[in-house]
Symmetry: C2
Subunit: 477 residues, 2 copies
Amino acid sequence: MTARTTTWVRELQDALGRDSVLTDPEVTASYARDQAMLVQAGVPAAVVLPRSTAEVVAVLQVASRHGVPVVPRGAGSGLVGGANAIDGGITLVLTRMDAVLEVAPADRLAVVQPGVVNKTLRDAVRGHGLFYPPDPASYDWCTIGGNLAVNSGGLCCVKYGVTTDYVLGLEVVLADGRVLRTGRRTVKGVAGYDLARLFVGSEGTLGVITEATLALRPSPPAPITLVASFGTSAQTGQVVERVVTSGLVPSMLEVMDQTCIRAVDDLIRADLDRDAQALLLAQSDSGGEAAAAEIALLTRLCEEAGADFVHSTDDPAEGDLLLTARRMALPALERLGSLLLDDVAVPRSQVATFIDGCVAIAAEAGLVVGVVGHAGDGNMHPTVVFDAADDDQRARAFTAFDAILALGLSLGGTVAGEHGVGTLKADWLEREIGPVSLSVHQAIKDALDPAGLLNPGKLFRRGHRADLGAVGALAGS
Amino acid sequence: MTARTTTWVRELQDALGRDSVLTDPEVTASYARDQAMLVQAGVPAAVVLPRSTAEVVAVLQVASRHGVPVVPRGAGSGLVGGANAIDGGITLVLTRMDAVLEVAPADRLAVVQPGVVNKTLRDAVRGHGLFYPPDPASYDWCTIGGNLAVNSGGLCCVKYGVTTDYVLGLEVVLADGRVLRTGRRTVKGVAGYDLARLFVGSEGTLGVITEATLALRPSPPAPITLVASFGTSAQTGQVVERVVTSGLVPSMLEVMDQTCIRAVDDLIRADLDRDAQALLLAQSDSGGEAAAAEIALLTRLCEEAGADFVHSTDDPAEGDLLLTARRMALPALERLGSLLLDDVAVPRSQVATFIDGCVAIAAEAGLVVGVVGHAGDGNMHPTVVFDAADDDQRARAFTAFDAILALGLSLGGTVAGEHGVGTLKADWLEREIGPVSLSVHQAIKDALDPAGLLNPGKLFRRGHRADLGAVGALAGS
């Protein structure tokens, strides 16, 4: 540890106490990266675990004073290296700020700290007949702060939207340690720029979220679950297109191909149809005759797309098992090899074409690509399976991964549906958004974090000062 | 016209043609202000009506080169002076860019130019079984560009949200004339900052929106409409609270007090209950048994709150008449005198308290305050009625107007629910958001429009350079 580092670490320890500032390399190593195992990560000089907004303020004041980069993070469930440590920097872990501060049924909202686990919030509001929809696959261990950072989705999005759709207000500690409170407790409000939604999805590059006011919905009725098996994955894409044009809004519409079906069935013995080339899982939570009508229409659309088998159930246990099967797709694939998990969202009209393209890319690469995803909203997670110890396979895997991203862009899609950009896709972000948008990103980053201390290198590469000068002088030319 | 003005006007005429650049004072005067009649407005040196994005680019290039302020506007239906002209500036009228460029049923989206009238879009998508929910009172003449500028709401919001909830992507011409395309055609997407939603609600201060990709919903079933009359306005607030805690989501939940009821009935002879102190109008568009159950529950909640009379109907003509009655509240009040129209949103738990407070403020001022609003989402429009020719009444009216805003803030609400901030409430914005948020607003404004040419003075007052320097140097201190 350099003398300079020793100085700022001591300042942090003075401000937060020694038990909140970890420097033992064996301990800090465990905070060095998220779940994106193949993405580069540095070694933090200190891991800091604040207990309050005031302590976050103290950390950012010390960091600004000494020019130390800060990587904010939660549980580390991220999939794009967004929480990966910076060499010599501070990794700011928000998991101790884990209080559900308020549940207000008469306003259908909750106020939480960033370290609250998604499932904890869901459980806390359920007793009030309320529902917090965003449900990433890691919902039983990921934190709301992380969800806010990448604007997480989940299985609910086809009907209920994503994290940002539930954000009413935020408390954010800015790069210099000032505390911004923005947004509201009201349903509507147009007083000023929508700063709350600017911070959501900004991956810790603009500020550290220390509190969130989140909208809730009334709990929906118990769902009816439908499962259908198909001879090709692309048939499930056809169902999606018919669902959209039929005006149907299921509460879940998921797809898994044979690779995923078999991997899951091997893992949890869910009695899935192992011979199917693809399964479609859907739910309606509209209740009563409305749910019955939706499931009847879905059944017909599946049959018309050529389903081999369609079955629906209102048995909660059977529905839960099918949902678990879908949620286990990624852990199940992990048993087959190393994974490169894609997160491409395409316009819903392009789901079938996208699935066909993934099959072709797998064949070209000579690798397995497990196709799983939120078909109903077009957000697909084709997952390249390979042997990381085999250099040739590894190279082909990255080629396939990139080909899938390029395919998504060519179909009018995005390289980041719900996992964020992080370290993994920073170059792809530039390719997707183009130079004008990139310069606007840089100008906003520069306005809020001029020294570039907050999660540097994530989301996008920061331009040189010369470039920023040109942007900053836009209208003065 | 000064020599300098003559120069840039000629440049605009060369670029767009003389018929697109109006300078006749009698003509330009008609573009000087929006519907906020009591708010200060300047005299534009030129009114420019571009026909394409390329022409908007040309206008902003000329404006930047010569340092001329630009006020973007649509039809001028705004209620806060957001479109009011700047002396010697350009008023940029987007109404000629009025094409619905695309309706894509398989992706449930539409792509429109900013000058498209809200109703035109609604009509264009209806034939595809689709629905664009945001429905401000002026929906039959306001433009989508204006809706985007202030993030308009309407009667639909209690179930369907506001304009920003339907924005997928935008094309924006920046202050220096560069064209930013941001957002997506997909349901989900987290690639970079949510710039689209930063521009929505920014009231023309950050860029000029020239195209929008908007999400659509399947058309809902025909609604059932409920009307209930009460002995006090506050009882309707009690109904709102019970609706929220009961998990009910009506597609409309509006309130009008006796002043509004009688004014409307005088104007359109809607056979309203003129003796009621307040009417509550509600709809359910859930269809079938679900709608029937929702209306039955609403009926019970109204009765339990002490309604004198509750009636529901699935007759479309009767429902439309009641809806028209609600929409005519403001035009009807205008016949009683000059108006100061408030736009306060409070947490739904505070609606009853807020209505009580407005009654007290009216008594204190010795003026009529017509209470009308979107009770179901807490966005209320108490409207002060007065004689503008009477200085004393005028002073008391502004005092009452301010007292209503202060009441809203004291209840955890916002001074701008859906109409925007504009000129009318720029000082109140500062009071609501506080100094840290204001400095972040200024830093973002400065990053995107450093010369301050886009709608200056609207939304918030721009700080002095010295202040901005302090903000810009946040983390460098």
